[in-house]
């Protein structure tokens, strides 16, 4: 058979290491000495109650926030301060909790913006739209069409994103993140506000992205059944601190996690 069907999931070396990260906004400690690592090809979930610091963690990883303490090491290079575009150039892409797409632009164009960093010709060339710029545009369009096919959003290719229902907008946003061909994909509540069927679809896409594109995924999610089903490992945050980490089964059995979710008074 031409296809290799027996390939096991190969979790690789450490791709991202987060060491002792702290960040505070005024008196609020959003993150307090959090450390964990993410290995190549794995799906890691960050869970925790509201205000636990999950989104702040993602914001630190992709350079939107600058942690006041601690070191983030991505692909072996440690960094302290980094701009978001530098993070993107290094291969980190993300989606947002409250969708951040260009509402007036079509699905196709939105996903095309995700290719921006891959385009080599300058603005002038692109404006001319012939010669090498055309060839380049066609290559990118082909890549975008692959993503559209992958996410099964052919029917909305030319629909302005603002007109789409929430679940589909989430999918388009995932498409845009994929267009950058990221090594590390950060998903902030990819399934919030979705119905059961949409969630199931999204789970499948996330697993397929991991499988077919080989992307490493860090995701934040509230739906426990989803998290337990698709993640390789789970990190639990509560009040800015890491209270547990491990496989879904280990985390499920952890007393601190149960307390955090069922609500035990904190001293």
């Amino acid at each position: 058979m031409a296809q290799d069907m027996t390939k096991p999931r190969n979790i690789g070396d450490v791709l991202l290491n987060v060491e002792n990260i702290s960040i505070a906004f005024g008196g609020v400690k959003a993150l307090d000495g959090v450390s964990f690592d993410v290995r190549e090809h794995e799906i890691l979930a960050i869970i925790g109650p509201n205000g636990a610091g999950k989104s702040s963690m993602l914001n630190c990883i992709n350079g939107f926030y600058h942690p006041q303490d601690g070191i983030i090491t991505f692909k072996g290079t440690p960094r302290q301060r980094m701009q978001t575009h530098e993070a993107a150039a290094q291969g980190i892409a993300r989606t947002f909790q409250n969708i951040a797409l260009f509402k007036g632009m079509s699905t196709l164009d939105n996903i095309m913006t995700g290719r921006n960093l891959k385009m080599k010709k300058n603005l002038l060339w692109q404006a001319l739209y012939f010669g090498p710029a055309l060839t380049e545009e066609l290559e990118h369009r082909a890549k975008v069409e692959e993503i559209i096919d992958f996410l099964e959003i052919e029917a909305i290719r030319k629909t302005p994103v603002g007109k789409l229902p929430y679940g589909l907008q989430k999918r388009v946003e995932l498409g845009r993140a994929l267009a950058a061909e990221p090594d590390l994909l950060l998903l902030d509540e990819p399934m919030a506000g979705m119905n059961h069927e949409e969630k199931e679809d999204m789970c499948r896409y996330i697993l397929d992205v991991n499988d077919e594109f080989g992307a490493t995924i860090v995701l934040i999610e509230h739906d426990m059944s989803v998290v337990m089903d698709i993640s390789d490992r789970v990190v639990v945050l509560d009040y800015g601190r890491k209270i547990a980490a491990g496989t879904p089964d280990e985390v499920r059995a952890n007393q601190d996690v149960i307390d955090a979710y069922l609500g035990v008074s904190h001293d």
Binding site: Q3, E146, A155, R157, D208
Partner: protein, 655 residues
Amino acid sequence: MSDRVPDSGRPDTFPKLLRENARVRADKPASREKDYGIWLSWTWGQVGGEIRALACGLADLGIGRGDKVAICGDNRPHLYWSMTAVQALGAVPVPVYQDSVSDEMRYIYDHAEIKFAIVENQEQVDKLLEIKDTLPHLEHIIYRFPRGMRNYDQPFLDLYTDIQDRGRAFDAANPDFYEAAVDRATGSDIAIMLYTSGTTGRPKGVMLSFDNLIITGRNGAIRENLTEDEDMLAYLPMAWIGDNIFSVAQSYVTGFCVSCPESSDTVLQDLREIGPTYFFAPPRIYESLLTTVMIRIEDAAKFKQFLFRYFMAVAGRVGIDILDGKTVAVAERVRYWFGNLLIYAPLKNVLGLSKVRVGYTAGEAIGPDIFTFYRSLGLNLKQMYASTEASVFITIHPDGDVRPETSGTPAIDVEVKVEDDGEVMFRGPGVFQAYFKDEAATHGTKTDDGWVHTGDAGYLDSEGHLHIIDRAKDVGKLNDGTLFAPKFIENKLKFFPHIKEAVAFGNDRGYVAAFINIDLESVGNWAERRNMAYMGYTDLAGLDAVYDLISDCVAQVNRDLAADEKLHGSQIRRFLILHKELDADDGELTRTRKVRRSAIADKYTDLINALYSDTDHCAVEAEVTFEDGRTDIINADLKIREAVRIAGIQAEAAE
């Protein structure tokens, strides 16, 4: 049964027709498919090569004469090719509805003794893997798209293109094999086996020969003057007989190109891009297109609304006469010409129907208003009366004599008669061979001299047009002896855009009562216009205002019924709006969306009892089945309304 032999020398099987087309029209497109946003086409010559490679690969895997091969997935050129490849080996393709749940699949795979399955993607493979242990005959599964299949290592799974590669190697080693296999088959061999959805009981496997399909397809093409230049979009299920005639038989016979949509969600866009000249759609598609148009007109500027209404009135007066080639006053012709410029042509263009020469509808009754709407735009829409057992065509509207209330005149070589008890029967070249492994049902349906019972009640009028009233077994009587034709009443209800589905009860009861499903799009838009908040189907269906809206529709139906001398007693007395949409996954509809009366009666006994009592509400708990087989429970408290009944005309008639 074939008492009509095809002209000698003409290719009498699909693989032979393919060989002919690959020779005569080698460079003409045969199949098109939109993939990655681009239309790809294959010429007849290329299709010939693809099918040959696949057939040889299947032969190498052990498929031989008489084996059954299931084919399951959306309309894809590769799946169509696989049917011909299977036929080339003398094996029988069995297309299966792609949205069937595992249990339905299991029955068909088991009953048909399927040996191989050729399926579209991971979703279909997963459904089969779930039931494979219970299917001793199933040896091999071939899938078209490798996506998501990376970690499947079962030895009986193969990729479509790998089988073709294997076939090319086999072909090189046995160069005479393929042609010899093709030559071995004849027109009287079984070409295909289709499982009818059936509103009652388990599906039956209808066996059709090459003669059935090819002669029927050719006769249909002759009647409508189809040529090799037609364009057609294949978007209806491959397991449905119509698709096998329109997209397969007639394409092979005339050589026209068949296009497959990008996905089932993009059909309307693909329709616009392809611009078919030959088009089939069940009534619900025409209805939903019209509903979309009307909703958008409501949102349009006042001047546009005025133009639309003015010119639609013109079209309503003269459009159909112009289409039928009758004499029309010059002034009206001029108005119609302007109307065409401003409204009709752009509207047809938006719907993707600009180039349609022949449009068919069948399966259910189409509302006369909807039917005349399309015809008045200049679209040559025709109804036909069709059945799997007839290889589709029984009667068709003839050009120039199209009447919305009839199903048309018999197709070429088809005879139609009505039995004394009112049942319609037919005989012709398309009559099926037998039901697979069901001698009793075959004898119950087909007489020894080739007449087939349709189970439909109807009559032929003086000009030879067939009128269908209802399923013969559904026609009943109320307690007081009044004639009760449920389908007739349901159709009248369904002709309202706000009503999607209806089920009428009344046989051996005191009066007629009905379940109603609202149309979420239409009623939802109506509610939005009135600033009414709702959370979903169940919520919307329970609103008092919606009950008022539907009540008006029911009253209108009762008014129509009151005018009918036989049916005025069967007016609807009580009705309720169901809390969920009737769904094929829950066994309430067939896969072709026909109401399964007995299943509904069993499932909703409480609701029916409530309709025949004094109560004005009824609590209901219903189980819904998702496509993957899981189930969930919905709770609701349904209101029951008394309908407005009309006595006036009855009283007048009595005077």
